[in-house]
């Protein structure tokens, strides 16, 4: 569980990046933090594992105040996958890469072996066990980075802009993967500006603008509210755009799912003709 109380944060020599952010993320939630570039999203999530410490206010991860703990110990429960996998990869083999964090955390050799095999399997990387991570494609390297974080099975998973540069299939696989993590009871937090991806997953959506939270609620409600979205320079998901333009016909506004959209349209058109 992550609790933030009135968090303020300023970078050295710079403007205040967070201006009083408060939020509670319960275990097992799926949260998407959205907002324009520079709104403070990445800055905020870096507080969850102690990479950044608040200038004022408190952040607690599972009851432990982050200012009273090291990044290494907070990281045991909060796994952070950075946007660019190349900022993490350095080992000779994929196996070593995945084992890196496990070694840092002091796991026993036989446990490490089991965990590495499990992580490789989970992300379909078993055939690359002894391959150099630098020889893999962009998408495969992303999976190696993800595997290396999952290996130590943190309770909370933070993904920073996981959809950048991904094609349709890769995004679909990512979405299913997140659902899988959810069913295992993990807390998943993603930082993203990919509206369509969020619309398909329908998580809790937290909108940030200029260092503050301006909206926090069910994806469906927030992503179909044009006033709020314009405030944080986010585009409406395409399905919601269609329904926005059909507002005058009495269609409901908060539709982002394509199947729901189909049902509603068919039903409304049938009722209009009294079929």
């Amino acid at each position: 569980m992550i609790e933030a109380e009135n968090v303020h944060f300023s970078y050295p020599n710079k403007v205040e990046a967070l201006k009083g952010v408060s939020i509670t993320i319960k275990d097992g939630e799926f949260v998407a933090i959205m907002g324009q570039n520079g709104a403070g999203k990445s800055t905020f999530v870096k507080h969850f594992n102690g990479l950044l410490k608040p200038t004022s206010g408190t952040i607690r991860s599972d009851g432990v105040e982050t200012t009273k703990s090291s990044v290494a110990s907070l990281a045991r429960n909060v796994g952070f996958v950075f946007q660019n996998p190349d900022h993490q990869l350095f080992s000779e083999t994929v196996e070593d890469e995945i084992a890196f964090a496990l070694k840092n955390f002091g796991f026993e050799a036989d446990v490490i072996e089991k965990r590495v095999t499990w992580a490789l399997n989970l992300l379909s990387l078993t055939q690359y066990r002894k391959t150099s991570p630098f020889l893999l494609s962009g998408g495969e390297r992303k999976r190696v980075a993800l595997a290396s974080v999952l290996a130590w099975d943190p309770k909370t998973l933070i993904l920073d802009e996981p959809t950048i540069g991904q094609d349709h299939e890769q995004k679909e696989k990512l979405r299913q993967f997140i659902m899988q993590m959810q069913t295992q009871g993990k807390t998943v937090v993603i930082v993203t500006h990919d509206v369509e991806f969020v619309a398909e997953s329908n998580p809790r959506v937290v909108l940030m603008k200029e260092g503050k939270i301006v909206a926090d609620g069910i994806g469906k409600e927030i992503l179909t509210n044009p006033a709020i979205l314009e405030l944080s320079s986010i585009v409406l998901p395409q399905i919601a755009q269609v329904f926005m333009k059909l507002k005058s016909l009495g269609f409901p506004k908060n539709i982002i799912d394509i199947y729901e959209a189909k049902e509603i349209i068919l039903k409304t058109l049938e009722s209009k003709t009294g079929k």
């Binding site: 570039n37 990919d194 395409q238 059909l246 349209i265 209009k272």
Partner: protein, 283 residues
Amino acid sequence: MAIIETKDLTYTYPGASKPSILDVSIKIEKGEFVLITGPSGCGKTTLCRCFNGLVPHFYQGELKGEISVASIDTLKHHTYEMAKHVGLVFQNPENQLFALSVEKDVAFGLENVGVPREEIRKKVDWALNLTGIYDLRERSPHEISGGQQQRVAIASVLAMEPEIIVLDEPTSFLDPLSAEKIFEVIYDLNKKQGITVILVEHRLDLTAKYTNHLIVMDQGKVRLEGNPREILSSEETRLIGVGIPKATLLYQMLKKDGLNLNNSTPLSSEELAAQLLEALKSR
């Protein structure tokens, strides 16, 4: 004569086990706005680099087949000669800007070619104005946003007054709003300046509406080519794994369930909404 024409173009990177593009034969007319899409690894990036000669001159390896860009055989001419006819904008905004000020970056290509100073000044100002970044001209590239950086990249390519501009996933790192701004700039350049545009993109929901000529690639080959309305309705496109716009998908689903809609496949939310309104009025 087509401004770009290829015949059975095949290329293998040195050390690769199989070709990145295979038997690619396409024809692009002057003034077109072409959209190239396909799953990761389909060869679209390699194809872009064939247009200005980076393949094969920069990457070495063997390029087989025929290719003619702006009536020039790229195999027989240096990349720096191609630069006057084809501009290439890359994915990462940060890694294509090297000067300490925006206008010096935009001037880079012209300086390389040896254009006299007064002319450089005129062309730089012209390019800065067309891309809407004239007031950023003295800023350092590191200080500006990703969207602004990409506009600088476009301006610096535009300043050389090429007939063709190729953009390889230029909005990958940008948020949807900045991405839309970039597409508007590109669309303007195509419509108002008559520049042939080749755009490689995954985000068809934002870009399909701009083009009449869509090319879908998969595993190095061109699988589908033609009008996006037909291509995006086809089953094959869906199987390849291309991200079909939601409005288009919804339209197909509604039609399959018997709804009587216009036969023209919508590519955007506006088009679908208009069709639904019509369907309602006709009852």
